[in-house]
Amino acid sequence: MVRRADRLRRLWTADPVALLPRPVRRRAATIGALVRDRLPVFGSSLRSTRVTSWLGIALAVTFPVCFATGLVSHLIQHPPGWFDWPSTPTQLYRVTQGVHVATGIATVPILLAKLWSVYPKLFEWPPVRNLAHLLSRLSVFVLIGAALAQVTTGILNIARWYPPMPFFFTVAHHWLAWIAIGALLVHIAVQLPTVRTALARHPADPGGGHAVRRRGVLSAVGAAVGVVTLVSVGQTVRPLSRLDLLAPRRPDIGPQHLPVNKSAVEAGVSRADDRYRLRIDGPRPRTLTLAELTALPQRTVALPIACVEGWSATGHWTGVPIRHLLALVGAPPGSRLRVSSAQRGGLYRAATLPAAHCRDPRSLLALRLNGAELDLDHGYPCRVIAPNLPGVLQTKWVEHLVVLP
């Protein structure tokens, strides 16, 4: 038993070259020396454990923020039994998803600076010292792969450029997030002592104005974070929309001055005519014409459309409160509502409105937007609009409602 533990420990710290047969070992040493002499030399005195530590700490903030906000969005869209998403505060989803995308964009300069600061480690020699070293390098490989993939796929998604991703974006982005956050936790655990030493109050200062240069690099990265945020965050923060030079959306551009995630043409939906009927299945099923819908009591509310892609914009919606429709068909309290669209395909042709949102008096089956009839791209003849819910769950071109217990 003792001998086995001993052998394990030796394997853990053994030099892999020493394990090779002698003739191979000799040749390996010669080749190793040849390679070592040809490795690049990195002269930049800007790199230091301290700079790397600060950048690492910044990423240890942005990654969990993206993870948590992304997970919230995932849970709202695929709610497990224990998860109840409230309909208040109204702006909450707009904020969490806006923060998700803005933080993801802000991560670009920090992540690249972090990789720059440790780039020479890529060429460390020997490449593998022992088993522990090999595992540590592999975990870093997983971390960097997942981190770069997360940021890249997120950015490709908001730019709607899908061919470089030969997989379904949302599913891959979700599972990669678990890998990235897990690998990050392992990395933090491994590097914690190094970071503590590097950031101790009296570090061994390399001198020669190093502190000044370090501040220079960190402020440049900070400036980069500021600029990429400033030119894109206007897609969700209205007062900054004039600075919105490079965001995929501007909150006032679109039909009826509101952006559209999927247009009618893209959804394959054409304008409903006189034959349109809204079917409502419940204890007392009803079928309503558009005229009958319009004749029901109407309400106007100011609610945002908040997209998973990080943009959001407020509209003034007029329509029939969902509560009223539920009462019309005798739905019991606490019911949910399955909402189906005229859209024939697509992931979001139907969605379930949670009980909290069915109860909320501000949830509407909207017929009008900003004082005019709903544009076809916004879901004519009617769409769901509800507080604190992702836009993809606010079904457009509604033609069928089913009361669920």
Binding site: L148, A149, A180, A223, V228
Partner: protein, 145 residues
């Protein structure tokens, strides 16, 4: 400390395992893995050497005292270009949805970078002036007595 680190490792490995399992069962793990490997190689073999090359060239061209300021401008430029490259290239633009990617992105990029370099130039001027007053300052007290 040891216990915290051990707990972090255990939690982290559980996260990686859960993600890998989900990726394997619900997504296309080979494609996603390949994407991640290409991302790493793209950074290590293309982006990083390119950035180092730019730094080496800039260091040759730019006066030594202004290099830190110019380096800052280069860092911001690189971040803006990379973060918005897919948007600027515009391959995701569709005429079927005019409100998606509605702006003139090459123009937006040009305006953004112009502003970045205007600020960089202003900082460079300030630095030169600062240096000059710094250099002349020590001579004054000596002249007084």
């Amino acid at each position: 400390m040891r216990a915290v680190r051990a707990a972090l490792v255990a939690l982290g490995l559980a996260g990686v395992g859960y993600g890998a399992l989900g990726l394997a069962t619900e997504s296309r793990p080979v494609s996603v893995g390949l994407f991640a490997v290409v991302a790493i190689l793209g950074h290590d073999l293309l982006l990083a050497p390119l950035a180092l090359l730019v730094a080496v060239l800039a260091r040759r061209v730019v006066p030594a005292d202004l290099y830190p300021v110019v380096r800052g401008g280069l860092i911001v430029t690189g971040a803006v270009v990379l973060a918005f490259l897919p948007t600027v290239l515009g391959f995701g633009h569709r005429t079927t949805n005019p409100s998606a990617l509605p702006l003139d992105y090459p123009l937006g990029l040009a305006v953004t970078l112009a502003a970045v370099w205007l600020v960089t130039a202003a900082l460079a001027v300030l630095r030169r002036r600062h240096r000059r007053t710094d250099a002349s300052a020590p001579s004054r007290p000596r002249a007084k007595p």
